[in-house]
Symmetry: C2
Subunit: 171 residues, 2 copies
């Protein structure tokens, strides 16, 4: 099975992201707006063993504030436009622990926490769209208290297997 | 917010359902294949209070076997074609407890647990499609050990808020 680990932000932020994804992201219908903590990885390890590791990791980190202050782009690496999240010790810790303790390749690039709003654009589209979106005044913050293990179906869409709440004594 | 409570069956069953939903279900891109335990309900009650009730209900029921033996239709009530799940005490108990303890209208029809594979068909389409699908030899069983609280985004799609594992001592 192919798994991934993501944070789904609040409905407010998901609705905002979808207003752009609808036009500019071909993955719009495959998964709700999300912040990826660990990119898709293929494994035969069963979900139950993954779950035990994820529970242990979730306990290590208390809920934290997610801050979004700008729209950014990964150019020249690729044409993905995203809501850039400010790094926090919890986001970095989660990311490192997940990569260290689960199957899958090491990341190709340093961790830049983000919520994708446009991807697979041509260079011209990218210039147009990024030119408009980078001017948006975005100031959003919210508390993140959970993450999700998701798996991919044959049609490319993703289903949630389990939710993990952050903290020693989650509410 | 508009919430719902669903079971996502195994990847195998979801892939099978999607092979039909892709052509015959306009909700295909809005949510993965699912068995609805409580239909969409609107409430201002916050997710945290809902969660406490759902945790208590999940503890009351041990994991159970979901049995699918036939494709069926809700005609003449509507043109929804579905994988019909055999009733179990756990499914009926969950359904009754969820309706009893959460906001939302009482159900209009008796509980028929199912996974929708086609809906909003014209009467002619329904006859054609149901004529083909009812002949499928379906024999599927799997263990269900969890359900999910989902909420709806502005675009009509659904995001998972939380997973609840069945049983006093969930694995």
């Amino acid at each position: 099975m192919k798994y991934g680990i993501v944070i789904f932000p609040s409905k407010t932020l998901q609705d905002l992201a979808n207003s752009y994804r609808k036009r500019y992201d071909p993955h719009y219908a495959l998964i709700p707006p999300h912040l990826t903590l660990k990119a898709a990885f293929e494994t035969e390890v069963d979900a139950h063993s993954i779950t035990e590791k994820l529970e242990a990791i979730a306990k290590k980190y208390e809920p934290f504030v997610l801050n979004i202050r700008k729209v950014s782009s990964f150019q020249p690496i690729n044409n993905t436009i995203h809501l850039k999240a400010e790094k926090t010790p919890q986001l970095e810790g989660l990311y490192e622990d997940l990569y260290a303790s689960l199957p899958g390749d090491k990341p190709e690039h340093p961790f830049v926490p983000h919520i994708t709003i446009a991807q697979k654009l041509s260079n011209d589209e990218h210039s147009d769209v990024y030119g408009q979106l980078r001017m948006l005044g975005i100031e959003h913050e919210e508390t993140i208290d959970r993450f999700h293990l998701v798996y991919q179906l044959e049609n490319g869409s993703w289903t949630v297997y389990e939710t993990y709440r952050l903290g020693k004594d989650p509410q």
